[in-house]
C-alpha cells in the first residue's frame, strides 16, 4: 500500500497522464482477473532531488498496447514490441514526474531514462516498496514506489 499522504497525489498523477495522453480513465470497478499467464509490460526509473527513490509500473500487454496506440496515434496492429515498451516507459516517466512535482514544487528532480523492470514486483535492497493498483478501462495498472 502507498502511504496515504502519497496516495491521492499518485492517483491525481495517474489520472492526469492517462486521460490527457492515452485517452483512458480510471474506473471504480473490481480489479479484473489476472492469471499467471498474463504477459506484462513493466518499466521503472530512478529519481534524485530533494529525496531519491525509484518508481515503476506494470500493465498487461493488451492494455499496454492500447495505451501505446492512443499515445502514438497508431493502429494497434502496427505497433512493435519496442514501441509498446517505450510508450509504457514514457507513461511511467510522466506519472513519476507529475507525482514528484505535486509533492515538491520548488526544487527539481532528475529522472533517469525508463528501463525494463525485471523485479517482478519484488523490492531490491532493504528499502520498503509501496504498491498501488489502479483499475483502468480494460485492465489493471500496477504501480510501485521506493523512497530512499
Amino acid at each position: 500500500m502507498i502511504p496515504s499522504e502519497y496516495e491521492s497525489e499518485l492517483q491525481n498523477a495517474v489520472t492526469e497522464v492517462l486521460e490527457s495522453m492515452c485517452f483512458v480513465s480510471l474506473v471504480e470497478e473490481d480489479a479484473p482477473a489476472i492469471t499467471s499467464e498474463t504477459p506484462w509490460v513493466a518499466r521503472k526509473l530512478d529519481f534524485r532531488g530533494p529525496f531519491a527513490g525509484s518508481f515503476g509500473l506494470r500493465a498487461p500487454l493488451e492494455m499496454a498496447t492500447i495505451f501505446a496506440g492512443n499515445l502514438l496515434g497508431q493502429d494497434l496492429e502496427e505497433l512493435s514490441q519496442h514501441e509498446i515498451g517505450d510508450s509504457v516507459g514514457e507513461i511511467a516517466n510522466m506519472i513519476c514526474g507529475s507525482f514528484l512535482c505535486k509533492l515538491e514544487t520548488k526544487q527539481p528532480f532528475d529522472l533517469t531514462t525508463p528501463v525494463v523492470d525485471l523485479s517482478d514486483g519484488i523490492a531490491t535492497g532493504a528499502t520498503k516498496r509501496f504498491t498501488k493498483d489502479f483499475v483502468v478501462e480494460g485492465g489493471l495498472l500496477h504501480t510501485w514506489l521506493q523512497i530512499g
Partner: protein, 128 residues
Amino acid sequence: MSYKVLIVDDSPSMRKIIRRVINLSGFDATTCLEAGDGLEALTVLDSSSIDLVLTDINMPNMNGEELVARLAADPKRSTIPVLVISTDRSEERIRKLIMLGACGYITKPFVPETLGAALSQIVFGGQA
C-alpha cells in the same frame, strides 16, 4: 509561413508523440527533424536550417540544459527559439532554463492546445 522544427528527446516514442501533437495543434510545421540528445541536435543544426527547437531535459550525452546554454552562447544559433518540454515543473528548474536562454517551457503531460499556444507565442509573440 511554415516552420522547420527540431524535436530533441531520447525517447523515440516521445518524439513521435510531440510530432503528432504539433500536427494536431494546427501549428504549421512543414518539417520535423529529430535528435536523441543534445549532441545529436547540434549535429542536425550544423547541417539544417532550423526555425525552432523543442527539447527534453534529461537525456544522455548532452542534456537539455547544456543544449540550451550552448545554443544561447553561439552567435550563429542564439536567435533560434528553444522550447523546453519536460516532466519537471519545479520553479527552480523552470527559472534556470529560462535564464540559460529557453524562450518557453511546457510540462508533460500536455494537450495539443497547450503546445500549439506555446509555439504560437514563440513565433508570433502572442499575435496568432
